[in-house]
Symmetry: C2
Subunit: 760 residues, 2 copies
Amino acid sequence: MATLEDLGVSAFINIVSAIAFLLLFAVMRIQPINDRVYFPKWYTSGGRTSPRRGSGGRGVGRFVNLNLWTYLTFLNWMPGALRMSQAEIIQHAGLDSAVYLRIYILGLKIFVPMTILALAFLIPVNVSGGTLFNLRKEIVSSDIDKLSISNVSPGSQRFWVHLLMEYLFTAWTCYVLYKEYDNVAFMRLHFLASQHRRVDQFTVVVRNVPHVSGHSISESVEQFFQRNHPDHYLGHQAVYNANKFAKLVRQKERLQNWLDYNMLKFERHPGKRPTRKKGFLGLCGERVDSIDYYREKISELDKKIASERQRVLKDPKAIMPVAFVTFDSRWGAAVCAQTQQSRNPTRWLTDWAPEPRDVYWRNLAIPFVSLSIRRLIISILVFALVFFYMIPIAFVQSLANLEGLEKVAPFLRRVIEIKVIKSFLQGFLPGLALKIFLYILPTVLMIMSKVEGYLSISSLERRAAAKYYYFMLVNVFLGSIVTGTAFEQLYSFLHQSPTQIPRTIGVSIPMKATFFMTYIMVDGWAGIASEILRLKPLVIYHLKNMFLVKTERDREKAMDPGSIGLPETLPTLQLYFLLGLVYAVVTPLLLPFILVFFAFAFLVYRHQITNVYNQEYESAGAFWPHVHGRIIASLLISQLLLLGLLSTKKAANSTPLLIILPVLTIWFHKYCKSRFEPAFRKYPLEEAMEKDMMERASEPNLNLKAYLADAYLHPIFRSIEDVETGEVRVDKGQSYMSSPTRSEFGSSSPQYVYHYEIEP
Amino acid sequence: MATLEDLGVSAFINIVSAIAFLLLFAVMRIQPINDRVYFPKWYTSGGRTSPRRGSGGRGVGRFVNLNLWTYLTFLNWMPGALRMSQAEIIQHAGLDSAVYLRIYILGLKIFVPMTILALAFLIPVNVSGGTLFNLRKEIVSSDIDKLSISNVSPGSQRFWVHLLMEYLFTAWTCYVLYKEYDNVAFMRLHFLASQHRRVDQFTVVVRNVPHVSGHSISESVEQFFQRNHPDHYLGHQAVYNANKFAKLVRQKERLQNWLDYNMLKFERHPGKRPTRKKGFLGLCGERVDSIDYYREKISELDKKIASERQRVLKDPKAIMPVAFVTFDSRWGAAVCAQTQQSRNPTRWLTDWAPEPRDVYWRNLAIPFVSLSIRRLIISILVFALVFFYMIPIAFVQSLANLEGLEKVAPFLRRVIEIKVIKSFLQGFLPGLALKIFLYILPTVLMIMSKVEGYLSISSLERRAAAKYYYFMLVNVFLGSIVTGTAFEQLYSFLHQSPTQIPRTIGVSIPMKATFFMTYIMVDGWAGIASEILRLKPLVIYHLKNMFLVKTERDREKAMDPGSIGLPETLPTLQLYFLLGLVYAVVTPLLLPFILVFFAFAFLVYRHQITNVYNQEYESAGAFWPHVHGRIIASLLISQLLLLGLLSTKKAANSTPLLIILPVLTIWFHKYCKSRFEPAFRKYPLEEAMEKDMMERASEPNLNLKAYLADAYLHPIFRSIEDVETGEVRVDKGQSYMSSPTRSEFGSSSPQYVYHYEIEP
């Protein structure tokens, strides 16, 4: 129960730290030594190959900016971030990024009029309600509460104003959402229409190709599509199960890197040949010459790779029952992707092929039954994770206390008993398990999504984002309002009546307003400021640069900024929408905080998208239906909670009127779904035909078969090529190694594909 | 709380009445005079034109069967019902009927092993549980309860047996359901594959054709499909808004019928020209010559019809933004039906065309936005109807008491005050409103479904069946278990916790077993026996024959048995599945009652389908996914209720194990949905291509364009033809008048379409 002053202090601290971050950023970003941390996008897009130099010339100027003038204009990244037009951003960073930025614009569009209305009408109504002034001092109520709905006396006619506002806010949100959905759907179709020829427009991925005895998978595919799509079928590409092979190639890459490093070392100090110990991790065993050691290891691996390659190519079991089928027109591919092929609906499942760089190859071979079992198991696991994650953590915490530590390691007792260390450990240990859990949570959710068997990295990210959203909704939003762990909440919700739940939550909502204001300032304002500072990547990059970077390839790996991280950023954003919508009527004072967040985060992310993050795939805004759906869900939650809150306020006349709102909102959602969602799921034939005809008119002699021939070439062939030619060049290796955590082959961009085709 | 004897008495009464019905049926069906009531199917299918004669020759034998031998074999309809093989039934009455009969077989397959297991294991366990024997006599408990789960003492280890049985029963039900879904899906595909050429295989219905200024709808359609389906588009048929025209034609039909009647009358009594009064309903006004009067009226109407026809044909607004688009191959139609056509997903909506006789023409012109608003309103209305239907009825009941009647009509006071009449009215009036409501309920639900805007009669019937199921579930099943109106239930459920609800219901379930046994005997046994007797149609047919039937056409109308009435029979059947599954573990003694129902009803409906009901459309078993889904829902309900029941029985160890069951069941449902449902919603391209190729091989010179030309000719053209030729013949008029209650044009079967094409 903070007073206005408490809140002011908190705001002051957070604003100061945000400004400090910004100042630090302003200083750091103009240092040439940090150029690869703050402007990696320009390197990956080929716009820059070495750091911009300050005017300080060579010497120290290579690392530190000595031009004092640039220090004075420390906020000039802001207009810089706004300089690019939307079309330029689409050009520069893809439609996904542009659509992502529109979420912030959407936030502003929704909340600016809402804030003005709420401040102008609701706050005066709440203040003049004045129950809290009459209460005795002992009853805890903060200054914020006097501006909130808590201040209106039960049974008051003033609740009609809140009701009216809720209607207005819902109508306005729906209107803006509708406009925005329309806009994004148009942008998507326009983007797809205006793009140049793309291989995925002509390709369909077929899963669950049945095994016919006496026929290979390739023959089956050929026969089936020649029979059922005779006019448009062009060819297909088989998919190999090359997971073991890929592992060997990765091993070789690593050894090659060590070899390069040792050779570089030897070049610099020609007198001394580098050595290493032969045993585990180079820590024990006989000391040998490093260069010879790695050369030998590599040649061993080469043999293994060659034999594995033979096995994969010859063993019919290595061909998976999946294929990329190409058609001679977009129309043909659109037809095949949208129709059911086989009598048995679990066979010959066709779907749009993702972009080649978006394919998650590992999941291509999962059969239908396994897929449905996997989804069942994962949904149970997600449920357990959301509601019961505290149980294992509490268990670990109970183990990780000092007594436990002393029992396991009695020799530590003397150290532990030192008072400073003891108090540090006592404060630190219990939180450690939780911190580690929260840190690895996005990775865990991503792994879960991978197990579910989706085919493209983009859909994996969307699934992981959904799971993270559920976690945030239950553990951050509900967990902050209703005290106790999620498991306790679940238990109490199961034992309360459906009408009681919104009441229980609704009542505590106004009381938690200050908490969420602080949350927005810490996570939203200071958090976003630290996002632009990129403290962690900055430190890691410099650490890596000092200790780990052995070759140029390593430097590029250390620089890799990754993508914008939709699995984490989307749910976070959606949480702000939820907070804004829930508190708009209850405690309008929270809205300005949200507004500041949206405006500031918009600037920051526009800057980051221009300068930092790398686009790893292009889904053409495929995540928008999720964004839309979750804002609708937030609207529903806000309506139900207001209903609960008002019903405890004895506003009996107005409450029944609120029941209509959720019904209308659900209907609006259904309408939008049928109106816009097909634009995100299907490719209209009208569009396909138009593009086909235009292309035929402009390029009548196009050899489409050659263009498509190796588009979905399995990465194994590219690696084999490398082996064949016997030289693994640095830039080449990087093409399928740049982000091995995402997938073995996921990051090989189509440019590389064509590059390879041209080369031999 | 009935004892076993009470139940025995009830069973005796119901069995006796069932046997009485059967005996009556055996006597009635062999009377030639009733032949059109008990064997109308043979008339409509053309197998019979006049009643089978008994051996009694002419004279009385025309009406009464005098052959005594046939009276002795009164049960011979039973083997007769079983005589046809499934293939013959499909041939005779369509796949829908054959699949409908499989629901009964499914019931037997599920419940026969269940009954054996339950009687062999559960009853001994329950009897030996023996708590109820120890209780004092005052506590009400029936003999049935001693055989049910109520008899097992709380906290007993015996509940493990019930738990195991629930697992077994669920597994068995799922296994049978899976097999059956597989089987029905195969039957459907086989049926579609083995059928001869059907117009709907080549036709797609397009809705929401956009208005382009300067273009007519026809031009737009032509242009769009020639552009986007250039290889397969053949032609299209416009749809006219001819509702007013149809009304006029119906009026004329009625007058024509009166004219025929009067002319027949005049023929029989040539001396006396029939006359009628000119005014309202022929009750007042000047007396005129009937034949002249109707002739004059008809010629007036003819003029009106001609001018309306001109208006419809000339007014571009009469062409609705809908069209039936035909393709030159099944493949082309399948592709168009399954793909998205336009950038705007609300335009050019394509879907499989229903059979011509299955089209519900009135709904063709509903625009997209209106459609989504209609569905919202109807779902709210259905919710209100299910939960609040008692409110208006109670209101009407409060008005329709004797005091009210006396106030409205004081002159009746004297009659009302007579004691016999008074007591009769007092017993009769309050129930009247409810009876009327229940009687018209299916019609009301059908009208609601029509408002929702589905295109085919088959889908309308499925929607109406779904609504009726919700009504039965809430008002019959829950309403019998939890006392009080549905509204009171809703209120109490909203104020109970989600875990409390299954407990509340679960506890009362064993107590209601005897009620449901009686219900099954009354509604199931005696009800089915009265179904075969067809008492109502019998009486109505003879009444109509005596008073209303003026012409041969009227006799055929009076004979029309209608279809099997899926909107009512499906939900009733599903209720029996629900009862069986819920009581299988709780009160196994109920299972034999259900078994008898399924076996008996199977025989009866097999007989009725062979001899009575007329097939009005062929949906190829499209209702099976609903049957499957509702049995799964019943399984879930039974599991939740058992969970609730056991949790009150302090069977704490076993209860958590039951939570797994619903999760697995839902997963099974999802799996089945993705495995089989596409077979009911989509037409696989493999299938389409195969049929196309076979047809091209066998009939290379087929003129498909001519074959399809007028298949979906709007009924208005057929009527106009009649007007053109100036003669409305009886058999011709009947073609679009046979069941005007379904839709104006719904009943015109495709045979008539071709008939018309050949004629002029």
